[in-house]
Point group: C2
Chain length 184, copies 2
């Protein structure tokens, strides 16, 4: 499920040639774009391989992390709707994610006493144990992947990526996948 489906990135001369037919094409912009997608895919692949080996999907891992993070902080309960919003998936998808995690015994659904429409999702001890068992290898992979960069380079990279992300949000505002209600 990578974003960029290409074994080899086109060579720079190829982009230059292509720019002759399409004056809009900026070779240096295309080059950055392709490298960004490619490297993002590679980084994803590194952690996803580990997830798969542990039997969780990216989506399920995110849910576990959100719940885990919460337990160390304030004890505000997580509803499926809030989880969906934070995780960036639809509520329908969150229903499925929680279904699977609940069958695996990692989370529980309990009815909210105040509002009977809502549920409260919580990590079970088994879920916590699972996460704490797999997280060290997860972080180890990230550290190893980034060991190619010095601290200064990391700061530069974060800054440049931030510029692109900001430009994306500004010029191409995210089509609100938000379902239910437009909140403010």
């Amino acid at each position: 499920m990578p974003h960029l489906h290409l074994k080899d990135l086109p060579r720079y001369e190829c982009l230059l040639e292509c720019a002759q037919h399409f004056p809009v094409l900026e070779p240096s912009a295309c080059e950055v774009f392709l490298h960004l997608l490619r490297t993002g895919d590679e980084a994803f692949r590194v952690t996803d391989a580990h997830f798969q080996a542990q039997g969780v999907s990216q989506g399920r891992f995110t849910v576990l992390m959100l719940l885990y993070d919460k337990t160390s902080g304030q004890m505000t309960s997580f509803t499926p709707a809030l989880l969906a919003e934070q995780a960036g998936v639809t509520r329908a998808t969150m229903t499925g994610l929680i279904d699977t995690l609940e069958r695996a015994g990692m989370v529980t659904r309990s009815p909210d006493t105040a509002d009977r429409r809502m549920l409260s999702v919580e990590l079970t001890p088994a879920g916590t144990a699972f996460l704490e068992k797999m997280l060290p290898e997860h972080f180890r992979r990230i550290s190893l992947l980034m060991s190619a960069l010095t601290e200064a380079e990391r700061r530069t990279l974060v800054r440049l990526l931030g510029k692109i992300a900001a430009q994306a949000s500004e010029s191409f505002p995210a089509g609100p996948t938000v379902q239910g209600h437009a909140h403010t």
Copy 2:
């Protein structure tokens, strides 16, 4: 279908705190990792929105581009297997992609006279016209997205991304999704 499912990236203090529980966690490495996935997703979203508006998926677009690129160069015919390899999908998936493109009248399948196992896939005039109609906007979006960066910054970014990609290939060699035969 983004890689990173998270509305908000964790703050840096949060990573620092988390590093107390997991000594393996390098905050600066995690920060780069998260920004990389996030920005890659954003960049993908920008072009994918355009693809969806034009009624093609990323995979189908890649196939069209491979075929288009070929027509301008040497006339070696593209078999589904070669397309699959270049596009980074399985042959089974390529069958489906070509099915859809053929139904849409953008490509044709013709039997290879020499080896009757093989097919030759080619772009139709309609497919070429479709691509040439949509490519300018595609490139315009990429240029606009990258307009946040100077030429020097673009070179730096490509170099840093390349370092990460190289590290990924070295430390985490791609599990050969190659089906059929292990070539070499």
